[in-house]
């Protein structure tokens, strides 16, 4: 009994370490990928000095951020100021515990599921964690005691509340087809056609809403450089500033994993081994996000709100209704 418990705890620790390493490693190289691709889109090379092909650039950046002075401005609420960036990065990393990486393995007669936490409310828990990340942004902005930060924080909070609705509603058809909120079951339900094919509208709505949730161009109003300096993280420096960044890039990878699980059939795919398929799908999404960033200008604030409330939410509701009608008829 005790041995079983110890083995279970050991396996769990190994799984957590692997997930954390993959998430953080991918996030670090996502920054390099973004800079490289943006360079190419803008007809320049991007970083290519640190290491071959600029491959050591994330390491150099991390070292630089660690060694920089951690400035805490006068007039801030110290406790909240210090914790806010960790909330953003922590919530993004926590969500990785729910992402299934593959089928349940059998090692030495023990069933080892390739997911840290398998729960029958997985999809809702992902949404809950993403909605809690708003606190890091809003509190960090409020406590900075800077009008640009405050404006960025207010924009961010309003934007994330507005698009959460569309995000949740766009996933309802997926749950209706998979008949489960468990991420592993949702992947299993796509062993035939992925939901991106059977639920194309839900797929598009989810991508747009998720783009807004990650606060990237064209939805980067909380940190719109030409209006708000750096928006909600104006007053942050050194590693705390980097934590906001890590949060953003971990969120990009997480979004890739979620789109792979909800719409692209997770690890299912022909010929190649499952984990390779999952990797391809997870990485395809950030490349798409970077491409969008290089192609589109930023929305105006009223356009952003109008798109969320007057277009995405009604469309998502109609999509739920139509999917329900199709499922009842079938």
């Amino acid at each position: 009994m005790t041995v079983e418990l110890l083995i279970g705890a050991g396996v769990m620790l190994v799984k957590m370490a692997v997930a954390l390493a993959v998430a953080l490693g991918l996030a670090a190289y996502m920054i390099l990928l973004e800079r490289k691709l943006l360079g190419r889109f803008q007809v320049r090379y991007g970083p290519n000095r640190v290491g071959y092909f600029g491959l050591l650039q994330p390491l150099a950046d991390g070292l630089k951020m660690l060694l920089k002075e951690d400035i805490i401005p006068d007039g801030v609420d110290r406790r909240i100021f210090l914790v806010a960036p960790a909330v953003v990065a922590g919530m993004a990393l926590l969500a990785f515990m729910l992402v299934p990486f593959g089928e349940t393995l059998t090692i030495l007669g023990h069933a080892v599921p390739q997911v840290i936490v398998r729960t029958n409310v997985g999809l809702l828990l992902v949404l809950a964690l993403s909605s809690l990340a708003v606190y890091g942004l809003a509190l960090g902005a409020w406590t900075s005691d800077n009008k640009y930060s405050l404006l960025g924080g207010i924009r961010g909070a309003a934007q994330m509340i507005s698009y959460e609705l569309a995000l949740g509603l766009s996933l309802v058809p997926v749950v209706m087809r998979a008949r489960s909120l468990d991420l592993s079951d949702i992947v299993a339900a796509q062993s035939g056609l992925p939901f991106a094919v059977t639920e194309p509208f839900a797929f598009i709505l989810f991508i747009i809403a998720a783009l807004a949730e990650t606060k990237r161009i064209p939805f980067d109003l909380p940190e719109a450089e030409n209006e708000l300096q750096a928006g909600f993280h104006t007053e942050y420096s050194g590693m705390r500033f980097a934590l906001f960044f890590v949060g953003e890039y971990v969120n990009m990878v997480l979004l890739g994993a979620l789109i792979a699980v909800f719409f692209l059939g997770g690890w299912h795919g022909p010929v190649l081994p499952p984990i390779v398929w999952l990797g391809i799908k997870v990485l395809a999404v950030p490349v798409f996000l970077i491409w969008t960033r290089a192609s589109l200008p930023r929305l105006r604030y009223d356009q952003l709100m109008a798109l969320g409330w007057k277009v995405l939410v009604p469309l998502a509701l109609v999509n739920v209704l139509v999917t329900g009608a199709i499922l009842v008829a079938a």
């Binding site: 909605s131 606190y135 809003a138 207010i154 909070a157 959460e164």
Partner: protein, 175 residues
């Protein structure tokens, strides 16, 4: 005590402590943070009790949406931020009333003979909760949603003020 029982009391204690802090903080943003901690504890308690769906919904709805709106309004108002706790005189009367209500509640529960039977441990899956909610209590769910909708419409009407109504009557958009 089982490990789950210990976790339950841990989260209950955390929730209670955070609730006391919520009621006594002078700084509204600190109060919001404590209220979020309360809802997270309640969500964890529900999950430990074998009802993960209501637990996660508590976090999504209360911590993830409603308290963000509170924070949003506080940020918009730009209230002067105090620090520390309110003077005891400010919350003595409400606290006494709340304590009296709690005592009355426990007395009522204690008087009910069925309250002492220990229920068997159970796990309520999302499908079971959904079926009960929309099959057995569909009328209550619909009534509440209509009530919320009416409140929403009323707020819209009040919030637009006189000029907004005039513009709307003239067929224009109230911005």
């Amino acid at each position: 005590m089982t490990p789950l029982g210990a976790l339950f009391y841990l989260f209950a204690a955390l929730g209670l402590g955070a609730a006391v802090l919520t009621a006594t903080r002078r700084n509204p943003v600190h109060a919001v943070c404590c209220a979020v901690a309360v809802f997270l504890s309640v969500g964890a308690m529900l999950a430990v009790l074998g009802a993960p769906l209501p637990g996660v919904l508590t976090v999504v709805v209360y911590a993830g949406a409603i308290m963000v709106l509170f924070l949003f309004v506080i940020m918009l108002l730009g209230l002067p931020a105090g620090d520390g706790a309110l003077p005891p005189g400010r919350f003595l009367v409400p606290a006494t009333l709340a304590a009296a209500t709690l005592v009355a509640l426990f007395a009522l529960i204690g008087a009910d003979p069925t309250a002492k039977t220990v229920l068997p441990a159970a796990m309520a899956g999302p499908a079971a909760v959904g079926t009960i909610l929309f099959d057995k209590y569909w009328l209550a769910v619909e009534a509440v949603s209509i009530l919320l909708f009416a409140a929403l419409a009323a707020v819209m009407l009040l919030g637009r003020g006189k000029t907004g109504r005039k513009i709307a009557a003239a067929g224009g958009r109230a911005a």
